[in-house]
């Protein structure tokens, strides 16, 4: 066992707010051993990022460190002066940020940005610095680094930017690398690549890594040690296997239970953690988790537990730690209980025989001048799908796959360039808005950004009642309707007077569901309904949606990139890649045996929240090509591990299997 490289002892941080101090961190202690990868895992509000910023001395102006020390290589970072801290940042320690779009300077080339990072190294010439930067760009897997280093951040795709971000963080050869949600802004296939990149480079360059994430899969796949935080306290810490297989704190246990990726049986009812975070302006006297803990006793509420250490390095802050193992079941073929088999004979509720959406990339005059014959990009290309009554169709794809555009085109919010959309047998594509308006009662949409999709200057009451106003149902008692809907989505009535920015993500999502349900629709198109929600809340929303489906016979078109979630709530799946559907079929069948290589990469791309199921290599290399220059053959050929010459030359057509599965591949896996 190595000596701790970073040792945090009794760190206590308050934030001053107009309504009094918020005790964001209370007595946080943990150690990061040298040359290891340590992860801090916790939900929003757990204080995990505050720990990170405390280490860097970059807390916001209203923060105050009340107690504690942060020993980095034996020196207390909190006692260092501004200059010494500044010298340490970017030299001894550096950061990989969550959002590479926002954390890189848009007006400087990477060459300039990376040269600036090395400004303390006075003995190096500009040419030396450039050489070092190019080397590092090559190390993080950026092709043709000598040329691409002179490009600007906007020339890089999301995954490439995060690679460049890692290169910039590692350039000064820090001894400690801090990573703040490094994959949250990335797609599944990129996520796996970045996880492996950070891990491999840390070993190679002998860097200690502290990674902060809410993603249990990432933590299990990447870390040697794990610190679990809840509401500003460390509740459990230990080696990764211990923590995932022998979790002792009820919160850790509940968090693990909530992760849909750990639930091997298909279930329509996901576990949740009841209750909400305690108010940190007046934290409870006893155990911080007592209010939500199923095993809490009076003793827990009266007295705060201290950390108990067992089995060497595994510490837990609980009076009554759990003793049973928490090893997840081995992955096995899931049985698929079908609650209500959708009736197949009927006219489908929504039928899209084929649909195309093209966006213009430049004006006709400019295209003519530049000699561009086809100034369009196909966001959705010959997509066909059906949603039957009472059924959930999961539409899965990475960002840029066209899934959101497809949803919007079905709802007539984006103009489709060709094709057909039939709702209850009636053609509705590109109807004028006046003719489409009555249909909006039957088709509702839930948007990706729970809070951002609510008009910011309206109260929840006005927002929920708005569908009635729009559709001329003023004779109804709007207040009563708002209350009825609030009850239906289990939103406390007290929230009706609030504004969207005063809601949490989960509450805002409930308002979104209430608005969608207001006029008793038949179909709800839900765009990433769990995006931005914590694991413990996401189950709540999905259970609510499933319950409403059972009660009202709703159909859902569920647009998402989150495979573990979609598996538990969908009857059928459609997988989209670059605007095309590459595979459709029964959800369970696809999960058990993907037919398209891309589907397989997606299914296997999700990091498993079990350190025993680590992958040795990311399932997929490369990135999604630009829609502007589609490959001649199969869109996936460039990344496909099984691609042959035929794939690169000829577009595969869709073939239907005996079990109804449709796959667009020359050499399907089944």
């Amino acid at each position: 066992m190595n000596a701790p490289h970073l040792d945090i002892r009794g760190l206590t941080v308050d934030f001053t707010t107009p309504t009094g101090p918020v005790h964001a961190l209370r007595d946080v202690s943990f150690a990061v051993p040298q040359n290891s990868v340590t992860g801090i895992v916790g939900e929003s509000g757990s204080g995990k990022s505050t720990v990170l910023w405390s280490i860097l001395g970059l807390l916001s102006a209203n923060a105050r460190v009340r107690r504690g020390e942060i020993l980095f290589e034996g020196e207390d970072m909190l006692r260092k002066g501004t200059d010494a801290l500044r010298a340490a940042r970017g030299q001894d320690m550096s950061v990989v940020f969550q959002n590479p779009m926002a954390s890189q300077i848009p007006v400087l080339t990477y060459a300039t940005q990376m040269r600036d990072i090395l400004y303390r190294k006075r003995d190096l010439s500009a040419a030396d610095k450039r050489t070092l930067a190019v080397e590092m760009m090559e190390r993080v897997g950026i092709p043709d680094p000598a040329r691409r280093i002179d490009q600007y951040p906007h020339h890089f795709s999301g995954g490439m930017r995060q690679r460049a971000g890692i290169a910039m963080a590692l350039l000064p050869r820090p001894r400690l690398l801090l990573a703040d949600e490094p994959t949250t802004a990335l797609d599944v296939t990129m996520e796996a690549q970045v996880i492996h990149l950070i891990r491999d480079l840390a070993t190679e360059l002998e860097t200690t890594v502290l990674v902060v994430s809410h993603n249990l899969g990432l933590i299990a796949e990447m870390c040697d040690h794990v610190v679990v935080m809840y509401a500003g306290e460390v509740v459990e810490a230990g080696p990764v296997r211990e923590l995932f297989h022998n979790a002792r704190h009820p919160y850790t246990r509940a968090l693990l239970d909530c992760d849909p990726a750990r639930i091997t049986r298909k279930t329509r009812h996901l576990p949740v953690i009841e209750g909400s975070l305690p108010d940190l302006s007046a934290p409870p006297k006893g155990c911080i988790f007592a209010a939500r803990c199923p095993k809490a006793t009076l003793h827990c509420e009266a007295e705060a537990p201290s950390a108990q250490v067992s089995g060497g390095r595994h510490s837990v802050r609980c009076h009554f730690p759990v003793t049973e193992k928490s090893v997840p079941d081995a992955p096995r073929i899931l049985d698929a209980p079908h609650a209500t088999p959708p009736d197949a004979g009927d006219i489908p509720l929504l039928e899209v025989p084929y649909l195309n959406v093209r966006f213009r990339t430049m004006g006709p005059i400019r295209a003519r001048l530049n000699g561009v014959a086809d100034p369009f990009v196909d966001a959705v290309l010959d997509v066909g799908l059906t949603v039957r009554r009472g059924e959930t169709l999961g539409l899965v794809g990475e960002s840029g796959s066209g899934k959101t555009t497809l949803g919007r085109a079905i709802l007539n919010l984006t103009r489709a360039s060709a094709g057909s959309v039939r709702f209850e047998g009636r053609e509705v594509r590109n109807l004028p808005e006046r003719a489409f308006k009555p249909l909006r009662r039957d088709m509702a949409m839930m948007f990706q950004d729970a809070i951002g999709s609510l008009s910011p200057r309206k109260t929840v009451r006005a927002l929920i009642a708005e569908p009635f106003v729009i559709h001329g149902a003023q004779d109804r008692d709007l207040d009563r309707e708002a209350e009825r809907l609030a009850d239906l989505v289990q939103l406390p009535r007290a929230f009706l007077g609030r504004y969207p920015h005063e809601l949490s993500g989960g509450q805002a999502r409930r308002v979104g569901v209430a608005r969608a349900l207001a006029l008793n629709p038949k179909l709800i198109i839900a765009d990433e309904p769990t995006a931005g929600l914590d694991v413990s809340v996401q189950g709540d929303i999905l259970n609510l949606m499933a319950e409403l489906q059972r009660e009202k016979g709703l159909s859902y078109l569920l647009i998402t990139h989150n495979l573990p979630v979609v598996r538990h709530v969908s009857d059928r799946l459609a997988i989209m890649y670059m605007g095309r559907i590459v595979e459709t079929g029964e959800a369970e069948a696809i999960f058990n045996q993907p037919g398209h290589p891309y589907t397989e990469a997606l299914v296997r791309g999700v990091p498993q929240p079990d350190p025993d199921q680590r992958r040795t290599a990311p399932p997929l290399r490369g990135e999604v090509p630009s829609l502007m220059n589609r490959p001649r053959g199969c869109d996936f050929a460039a990344r496909c591990p099984f691609a042959k010459d035929e794939c690169r030359q000829i577009k595969p057509s869709q073939s239907t299997r005996a079990d109804g599965r449709v796959i667009a591949c020359h050499f399907p896996l089944i």
Binding site: T17, G47, S49, A444, L454, S455
Partner: protein
């Protein structure tokens, strides 16, 4: 490697308390309080002019003409012996009328046109922008001279000139704010519910774009007041004998050798009002526009 760490820290900017924080900031800023005091003084003196004025503003008192400040006439008298202080109070009414009507009509017109330009189709946007830019490119005084030459001076004409020349400012600001909102998800969410375009503009765009426009309006009041004074000074605005700061200034200018104090007396309220509204507007902008506000008083 730039990122604002405070963005991910709890309590760093809870929006819930923002309005209280802003009110506190506002009340704590000396500039804001000074501006507010002057503005309240201006408005109340104009409203209560008939009560406050010691004399009828048009009453002639030839024997005591062109007096300097005395106990009987605080601000002196003009060449017809009219009390300048009373005339200034009544002149404030003209200024207030122009300011309130001019700015509110310009604000609402600009708001509507700007929202249409920002939300509507591209060709309409281009057309409206062309119109705004054309007006902006036209010097106000030249515009005024040309129109007065055509129809003759009047208070109504001053109003129209003021409105026409300030509408583009509001419109451009509203357009920019609308453009930024146009693709927000909540607008799309409203469309998906079947909300009509007028409804979206009135209920969902307007409340989100009007804030900065109100600040601009506060800063536009002195501009409008000086346009009126300037036009009246040139004899293109309010016609004598109606008291207006511009006409008083003009009359004082004619007798500057005999009664130099009159020009000074007429200039003081003009300067004060300008400063008051400017301070108020700047304080509002500092508080509501974080980009401009950082590091200012």
């Amino acid at each position: 490697m730039l990122s604002d760490p405070s963005a991910s820290q709890p309590g760093a900017g809870r929006p819930r308390q923002r309005s209280n924080v802003r009110l506190g900031q506002f009340l704590g800023s000396p500039k804001a309080m000074l501006g507010l005091t002057v503005v309240i003084l201006f408005i109340s003196s104009a409203v209560f002019a008939p009560v406050l004025a010691p004399y009828d503003p048009n009453a002639l008192d030839i024997p005591s003409r062109l007096s300097g400040p005395t106990w009987a006439h605080w601000a002196g008298t003009d060449q017809l012996g009219r009390d300048t202080f009373s005339r200034l109070l009544f002149g404030g009414r003209v200024a207030l009328k122009i300011a309130v009507i001019g700015v509110s009509v310009a604000l609402s017109t600009g708001l509507i046109l700007g929202m249409i330009a920002g939300y509507g189709p591209k060709w309409l946007d281009n057309l409206l922008l062309l119109a705004f830019d054309t007006v902006l490119a036209f010097p106000t005084i030249v515009l005024a001279l040309a129109t007065v030459a055509l129809v003759g001076p009047s208070l109504e004409l001053v109003l129209i000139i003021v409105i026409v020349s300030t509408v583009p400012g509001y419109a451009r600001m509203a357009r920019t704010a609308t453009l930024a909102l146009k693709n927000d998800e909540f607008i799309l969410a409203e469309r998906s519910l079947g909300a009509s375009t007028p409804r979206i503009l009135a209920h969902h765009v307007l409340p989100n774009v009007v804030g900065p426009l109100l600040i601009l309006a506060a800063m536009d009041v002195p501009v409008v007041v000086t346009i009126e004074a300037g036009l009246s000074f040139l004899g293109l605005g309010v016609l004598p004998p109606t008291a207006s700061w511009g006409t008083i200034l003009n009359e004082g200018y004619l007798v500057i050798n005999d009664a130099p104090f009159m020009v000074v007396a007429a200039g003081i309220p003009l300067v004060l009002t300008t400063l008051g509204f400017t301070f108020l507007g700047e304080a509002l902008r500092d508080i509501f526009d974080p980009r401009m506000g950082r590091g200012r008083a």
